[in-house]
């Protein structure tokens, strides 16, 4: 009962509308490929899969929680200072995530360096708080947050997959390109490790997505 208290009883927890909140950000409304939010962190940490996975999970936690908190507070926040309130909520959550990472995953936390802190200014989180959580009930906001974070996560993991596979021949740190390839002269593509290739990889992902779904093509 406690879960359903906040919403009209006639609407089931996973109604069609709520499901749409969860699935739209995966494709049509993807925060990275379509709305162009939160690019900053996607690019810098995608050299390997492991930090990307940690980053995606951190964003998932921060975003789900922040959306619920802001949605609960939405009627008490004065509109003039809402940005500061939102930043404070996000910053507190990010501090928690950062401390947990430092305690349990110290080496990954060193690899992510300042990018954990930069979750605070990740535009996806601010954008969703502003556009959705400020005017919606907690449960839909939670779904919206999770949906967008997963949409962000899959692009992150896709980019990291290609960069690690072609750049170092490994996945999650385990070698996947067999040694016999190297003996016959296969060489890892060092360019994939360098930062500019992340941009080009995303450019190609956007290209593929937009040629499959013509409605996303930019006319301007």
């Amino acid at each position: 009962m406690s879960d359903t208290n906040n919403m009209p009883l006639k609407e089931p927890l996973f109604s069609a509308k709520n499901k749409k909140l969860l699935t739209d950000p995966l494709g049509k409304e993807n925060p990275i490929n379509v709305q162009v939010l939160g690019i900053c962190s996607v690019l810098a940490i995608t050299v390997q899969l492991k930090p990307s996975l940690v980053m995606a999970l951190s964003v998932l936690v921060v975003m789900g929680t922040a959306n619920v908190v802001i949605s609960l507070l939405r009627n008490t926040i004065p509109p003039r200072i809402r940005i500061i309130v939102q930043l404070t909520v996000i910053a507190s959550l990010v501090i928690l995530v950062d401390q947990v990472l430092r305690a349990f995953l110290y080496d990954v936390s060193r690899q992510l360096s300042v990018f954990v802190g930069l979750i605070i200014t990740n535009c996806i989180i601010m954008g969703r708080l502003e556009a959705f959580a400020m005017k919606s009930k907690p449960w839909p906001s939670f779904l919206d947050g999770i949906g967008n974070a997963v949409g962000y996560g899959w692009v992150l993991l896709a980019v990291a997959f290609f960069r690690e596979l072609f750049g170092s021949g490994t996945l999650m740190g385990y070698q996947v390109v067999p040694n016999i390839f190297y003996e016959y002269g296969y060489v890892n593509n060092g360019l994939m490790i360098l930062p500019p290739m992340a941009l080009i990889t995303i450019g190609i992902i956007i290209w593929v997505q937009r040629s499959r779904d013509k409605s996303l093509i930019d006319i301007s």
Binding site: N33, V36, L37, G38, I39, C40, S41, V42, L43, A44, I83, I84, L87, T88, A91, S92, V94, I95, D98, Q99, S113, V114, G117, L118, I120, T121, N122, C123, M126, L194, P195, P196, M197, A198, L199, I200, I202, G203, I204, I206, W207, R210, S211, K214, I217, D218, I219, S220
Partner: protein, 205 residues
């Protein structure tokens, strides 16, 4: 002095905010449609970075770092407030942006009307918070190094956005494959510009 110039040049070309760390990409992609607006935003970023990085440096050196509170008395020598870094930095940035906005509005209405809409946006530009966090990570020795790092990063960001805006204005007349138009081609061009900027790597002054 030499050290300051070195930090300045390095933060413009080698550790460029956009091409090496991808910070501030959101506004970089959203605002770079015309050269005029991107130059305005670029100046605003230089300005805000040049102010917030030194202020956050002082905050780090005298309040947040390990043992930084020693000026209050010897019993504070063990206090380490560094877990408060994120929230203090972002509060300083948000407050400074607000302050800068009010000062510009008062003293230079023409500059204000040209920067107007961009100033509040800068509070959530990752390049600004990123500048402060990198400053913290690099342990600069004194405040003038922090100032030259802040200004240099700002100039680097300015160069990048002015460059991409000029290219985007031209590319509008080119025959780009339809699915790549707009966002896709901008990403790829930024990548190519990044590769060009990598040729500065290893320069020491």
């Amino acid at each position: 002095m030499e050290e300051l110039v070195n930090i300045f040049v390095k933060s413009i070309f080698i550790d460029n905010m956009i091409f090496a760390y991808f910070l501030g990409m959101c506004s970089y992609l959203a605002v770079s449609r015309t050269v005029d607006t991107s130059v305005g935003l670029g100046f605003a970023v230089i300005f805000v970075l040049g102010i917030t990085v030194p202020i956050n440096y002082l905050l780090e050196a005298h309040i947040l770092g390990k043992g930084a509170l020693i000026w209050l008395g010897p019993q504070f020598a063990d206090v380490n407030l560094s877990f408060l870094t994120f929230i203090m930095f972002i509060a300083i940035i948000a407050a400074m942006v607000q302050l800068v906005e009010m000062i510009i509005e008062k003293f230079s209405p023409t500059l204000y009307s040209s920067l107007g809409i961009f100033l509040p946006l800068i509070a959530v530009n990752c390049a600004i918070l990123g500048g402060s966090l990198f400053m913290q990570e690099r342990n600069f020795g004194n405040i003038s190094e922090a100032i030259s790092f802040g200004l240099g990063s700002g100039v680097g960001w300015f160069l990048a956005i002015a460059g991409i805006a000029a290219i985007r204005e031209k590319i509008r007349y080119s025959n780009v494959p339809a699915p790549l138009r707009g966002l896709g081609i901008t990403f790829i061009i930024t990548g190519l510009m990044g590769i060009a900027f990598m040729s500065f790597m290893g320069i020491e002054l």
